[in-house]
């Protein structure tokens, strides 16, 4: 069953067509990998889904409701969370406060928001840093903080924009474990990622985008052996 359907979405920036009649279907509970060269429109797609941009055409349907053109805060209320490519933590607030802010959306008071936040931090193994200022966190911790914040809103679908960028191999492995845990809780994940190894291990299904369109779709094996994927994105070494 589809949790999110992007139907024939087009987005132009002046003369540049960032997305052209794009159809994307995300099934409930899956981990979908979104790959493609820079400028393919992956982040633009995220920004359209969450309402940061208005599409020039097409529809975004989430849990059978048309959410096209809703404001970002409304989209969040419907149950879509996102992280940013360049992390945007609230630097003056503590890690806990950052996550409490996410929890408020479904809490009746500060105490409940706090409880939600503490549980979420626990799940993402950030409890030890709860009292640190967000500005004191390392890059991997900031990425996890953003995930925690988005999860605290009660999101059913999480859009993660390059959650592994700038991480060491062991940190990546750790993040993969965490994401599996999140997915195990029934949260649907869409992940923009450049590291093919990560995509191969984490995502049963992958979409390769190029120039605002879907180029190849399938299992990681299917995608990585597709000649179009090799020319557009992966390079010859993957063809072997």
């Amino acid at each position: 069953m589809a949790i999110l359907e992007v139907r024939k979405v087009t987005k132009r920036f002046g003369g540049l067509v960032a997305l052209r009649d794009l159809d994307v279907r995300v099934d409930e509970g899956e981990i979908l990998g979104l790959i493609g060269p820079n400028g393919a429109g992956k982040t633009t797609l995220f920004n359209i889904v969450v309402g940061y941009y208005k599409p020039d055409g097409g529809q975004v349907v989430f849990q059978d409701h048309d959410i096209t053109g809703l404001k970002p805060y409304d989209v969040c209320l419907r149950g879509i969370g996102r992280t940013f490519q360049t992390t945007k933590p609230f630097l003056d607030s503590s890690v806990l406060e950052n996550v409490v802010i996410g929890g408020f959306i479904r809490a009746h008071g500060t105490a409940e928001a706090r409880r939600i936040a503490l549980d979420t931090l626990d799940m993402l193994e950030l409890s030890e840093r709860a009292e640190s200022l967000a500005s004191e966190l390392t890059v991997p911790d900031r990425k996890r903080l953003e995930m925690a914040r988005a999860l605290a809103t009660g999101a059913q679908l999480l859009l993660l924009d390059e959650p592994m960028a700038g991480l060491t191999p062991s940190e990546k492995a750790h993040t993969v474990d965490l994401l599996r845990k999140v997915s195990g809780d029934g949260i649907t994940l869409v992940i923009v990622e450049h590291d093919m190894k990560v995509v191969m291990t984490l995502c049963p299904r992958v979409i390769l985008m190029d120039r605002g369109q879907k180029l190849v779709e399938g299992t990681p094996q299917e995608v990585s052996s597709d000649p179009r994927a090799i020319t557009a994105y992966l390079g010859e070494e993957y063809g072997a």
Binding site: C76, G81, P89, F90, S93, G102, G109, L133, T153
Partner: protein, 356 residues
């Protein structure tokens, strides 16, 4: 060991959060301020200075709510002026008791806030500041060039005064013979607005403020309607500023566009807030206590040099924005905490002394 770490952590939190410097400092301050008018009974000028300190601290704290939500207003004199004029005109020309009329002023100031705030919702940073500035400027120009607004005489640029009742000794219409009642009204207003700012800061709205001023896009992605909460904050600030304006009218009894609506007054409010720390609870009050007496000294001793105080205001503003954008709030609170710690643990600090 573990307890020590816990205490360290809570001390860290104290440092970071805008928690008051502690009950001792605030209690001492409040007691001193309660005694002052009785000590200075024979020196009304000094009582007057304190009243102006309270008033400007009050206005800056009310203004600071907008700052905490991540916006800067350079037009707050407009909301002060609207309420001041309303209160004065309602009493002077329609005989409506100022105790009642001031609330009409507050409502009109809030409506003024809505007129400028609603269309400016989407504006961020300097654009919002410019919009507020322009609004206040237009309003002042309008008042300056308007003698009658319908049946209401607003006097163009001339002074508008309220009639004295019983030689100014009429508490029933917000007029007092001595400065002491004004002093306490202003003090209560200041204590009230600072308490409100403190409580809001710790509420859900306070969390939203920190999120919105740190990163509005991230805040929206977490379900916060940034425009709505900024507007609510702005309206609360306008209403409170209106209340300050009504007090301004009743205390000074004279008003004109320069005193109540001028850009320099808007800048003065902002300056006090910025010098004190415009994104903090106590900063604007600290700024008021420091800037107001200095401004008064400048006026007394250099008042004859034209346009000097705006020049000095501008220079001070620039220095703080460039070199101390968070204002004096942090250093002052740290100092107060240091003194408090010394007072609380004299034995411990004694132990450390021989090492020096």
């Amino acid at each position: 060991m573990k307890q020590g770490a816990g205490m360290e952590a809570s001390a860290e939190r104290l440092k970071r959060r805008q928690i008051p410097p502690g009950c001792i400092a605030l209690a001492v301050l409040l007691i001193v301020l309660m005694i002052i008018p009785f000590v200075l009974k024979e020196r009304p000028y000094y009582v007057h200075i304190f009243i102006t300190i309270f008033l400007w601290s009050y206005l800056a704290t009310a203004w600071g709510l907008v700052g905490q939500s991540g916006q800067l207003s350079f037009g707050h004199a407009a909301f002060m002026g609207v309420a001041a004029y309303t209160t004065g005109v309602l009493f002077g020309q329609f005989g409506i008791n100022p105790w009642l009329g001031m609330w009409v002023g507050v409502i009109l100031a809030t409506i003024g806030g809505l007129i400028i705030g609603y269309p400016s919702l989407r504006l961020r940073g300097v654009y919002f500041a410019l919009a507020t500035f322009a609004f206040a400027f237009i309003l002042q120009m309008f008042v300056r060039n308007t003698l009658y607004l319908g049946p209401v005489y607003i006097g163009a640029g001339a002074f508008l005064s309220i009639p004295q009742v019983s030689g100014g000794n009429a508490p029933g219409v917000f007029q007092f013979a001595s400065k002491t009642p004004y002093y306490f009204i202003a003090l209560v207003m200041l204590a009230g607005v600072v308490s409100l700012s403190y409580l809001l800061n710790r509420s859900r709205l306070g969390y939203y403020w920190r999120a919105m001023r740190s990163d509005p896009d991230a805040a929206e992605s977490l379900g916060i309607n940034v425009g709505k909460y900024r507007l609510i904050t702005f309206l609360v600030s306008c209403a409170l500023t209106g209340l300050g304006g009504a007090f301004f009218m009743q205390y000074f009894r004279f008003i004109n566009p320069v005193r109540a609506l001028d850009v320099t007054q808007s800048i003065r409010i902002a300056l006090i807030g910025i010098v004190g720390g415009w994104q903090s609870v106590f900063g604007p009050m600290i700024g008021g206590f420091i800037i107001t007496p200095i401004a008064e000294l400048l006026r007394l001793h250099l008042g004859r040099v034209p346009a000097l105080s705006p020049i000095i205001y501008g220079m001070v503003l620039m220095v703080f924005i460039l070199y101390m954008p968070r204002g004096l709030n942090g250093p002052v609170l740290r100092g107060v905490r240091w003194i408090e710690a010394k007072l609380r643990r004299p034995a411990e600090s004694g132990k450390h002394k021989p090492r020096r």
